[in-house]
Structures are given as structure tokens and as C-alpha cells.
């Protein structure tokens, strides 16, 4: 099927997809975006590996037990989890073509995401205030790199979310905007998946150690 050997009019064989049909614009976007997410997954895997190697080297500095407040992390986790389900609702209302409701769910998602970043920054500020800076020990260097990279991703997701809300406000739920919202949906849920690894391996196992 892929190699057509039936002779063309000049009698020469043609070596390309002979029954190529026109593809709609952006037909391969979701697969391409998925492959981007997988490459992002490899970045996080490297940071998790670095944390796994360095995470127990406190250099006589503070250990996870002294620094982490698990109830705060639980609140933070619920913020991200709630933003995942509200994004899901945004996708459902998008499929029903309800612009106002889609925008409302996107806004709520953004607020939960902003709350997550706010809590995380408060935690970081508190740690740095106590002298637990990234320079203090290998554990803290790898901690700030891993958790900070995740926070940076969520921040980028928030900027993207505001951009798309503006796009939907300007142009409505056109095909291109639906595609963009679907990509952000994958990105947002993917960050929630990474956070499962963070709260399990960094916070819970750290406090347990």
C-alpha cells in the first residue's frame, strides 16, 4: 500500500503513497504533542534520578523531616487534583459548544493552578528563610531543581491557559482553539501525573526516611 509499483503514465514506477488523501489541518497535532510530553517525561525522569541519588545527602543540613509539612503538601496536591477535574469539565463543555461555561471552567482551573503555585512558592520562601536554600546540601539542590521544574511547567501552563482563554474570547470555539485546548488538557493532566511522583518520592518517602 505504501509503495505503489504500478507504472505511471510515463511507464516509470512511483515510490510514494499513491492513495494519499488530504489530511485536515492539525490532524497529527495530538500525536506530536504526546511525543513532546514523552520527551518532557524523560526530563523529569532524569531529575527524579538525580533526586534519588542525591536526596539523602543532607551535608549536616536540614532533612525532609525538619522541612516538609505534609498537611500543606496534601492541600497543594488537592489543588492540582481539583484543577485536573475542572479542566476535564472544561473539555466536556467545550464538546457541547458552550463557550461561557468552558471559559468558566478554564478560569476555575487557572485559579486552582495559581493556588498551587502560590502554596509552593510560600513553602519555598519558608524553607529559604530557614536557611534551607538550594546551596545548602545536595538534597536541597536536587529538591529545588525537581520541584521547581514542575512548578515552572505549571506556571507555563497557566500562561498558556490565559492565552487560550483570550483566544476563545476573541474567536470562539473554532477548530484551532479546540485543538489547542486539547493539547493544554494533555499538558495539564500530564503535570498532575508528574506530581504523583513528586509527592510520593520526594515528600512522603522523604518524611518516612
Amino acid at each position: 500500500m505504501t509503495v505503489a509499483v504500478n507504472p505511471s503514465q510515463t511507464g516509470e514506477p512511483i515510490f510514494y503513497l499513491a492513495d494519499e488523501h488530504p489530511h485536515p489541518e492539525g490532524y497529527s497535532t495530538s500525536l506530536g504533542f504526546w511525543i513532546y510530553l514523552m520527551s518532557d517525561c524523560l526530563i523529569f525522569a532524569m531529575l527524579f534520578a538525580a533526586f534519588g541519588v542525591l536526596g539523602a545527602n543532607y551535608a549536616a543540613g536540614p532533612a525532609p523531616k525538619d522541612l516538609f509539612d505534609l498537611s500543606l503538601v496534601a492541600v497543594n496536591t488537592s489543588m492540582l487534583l481539583l484543577s485536573s477535574i475542572t479542566y476535564g469539565f472544561a473539555m466536556l463543555t467545550m464538546q457541547q459548544n458552550k463557550i461561557a461555561q468552558t471559559q468558566m471552567w478554564l478560569l476555575i482551573t487557572g485559579l486552582f493552578g495559581a493556588a498551587f503555585i502560590g502554596i509552593e512558592l510560600t513553602e519555598f520562601a519558608h524553607m529559604i528563610h530557614e536557611g534551607a536554600t538550594p546551596q545548602r546540601s545536595a538534597f536541597l539542590s536536587s529538591f529545588f531543581t525537581l520541584v521547581g521544574t514542575h512548578g515552572l511547567h505549571v506556571t507555563c501552563g497557566l500562561i498558556w491557559l490565559v492565552t487560550l482563554m483570550t483566544q476563545v474570547w476573541r474567536f470562539g470555539l473554532i477548530e484551532a482553539n479546540r485543538r489547542r485546548l486539547m493539547c493544554l488538557s494533555m499538558f495539564w493532566h500530564f503535570l498532575d501525573v508528574v506530581w504523583i511522583g513528586v509527592f510520593t518520592f520526594v515528600y512522603l518517602l522523604g518524611v518516612l526516611r
Partner: protein, 126 residues
Amino acid sequence: MNTDTHAAHADDHHHGDGHAHGTFSTYMLGFVLSVVLTAIPFWLVMSGALPSKQITALVIMAFAVVQIVVHMIYFLHMSPKSENGWSMMALIFTVVMVAIALSGSLWVMNHLNSNMMPIHEMTGMK
């Protein structure tokens, strides 16, 4: 056979929306499962309900794995069929890479000192 090829061909024309979508009930099911799968590990660590730390560690890691699968299915809509199986292929490839990278790094770095010459032997080598 004929219907099969027809279905496959018809599918070809819908690359764009070949991505599976969730429904309200699948999203809610995924959310409830996630809440439960998050709450139990937090509770286990904060209350110290299990007698041994090793057992607690293994249990919360198992919960994390299950929750990642739940997110993949209910939020990211992964299925062997989405994108004609290509997204699953990319996922499997990534999981293999991640497993090699993580286990390899941890194994090598944790055994870094094992095969080194002891210092007292090294000092006598001049």
C-alpha cells in the same frame, strides 16, 4: 474482512478527532479514584498506621503506580486504539527508557564506592 478494511479506512479520515474523549462519569470516576489513591498514602505516612517503614514505603509506591495508571486512563484517555496505537507505542518506549535511566542511575550511583581501591592501598602505590 471487507467490513474490517472499510472500518480501518474510514478511521483513517478522522485522524483529527481520533483522540478519545471522556464523559462526565469517566472523569468523575477518575477523580474519585485519584482522591482515594492520594488520601490513603498521605494518611499512612502521617499517622504511621503501618508498623514498618519499609512496608509503608512499598505500599505508597504501589499506590503511586496505580494512581498514575488511573490518570492515564481517565484523564489522558490512553487506550491501545488512540492514534492507531502510536501514542501507546510512544508511551511504552518512554516507560522503557525511564525504567532503564532510573534503575541504571540509582544502581550505578549507589554502588559507586564498591569497586574502588581502598585508600590505604592507594597510598602505598607511589
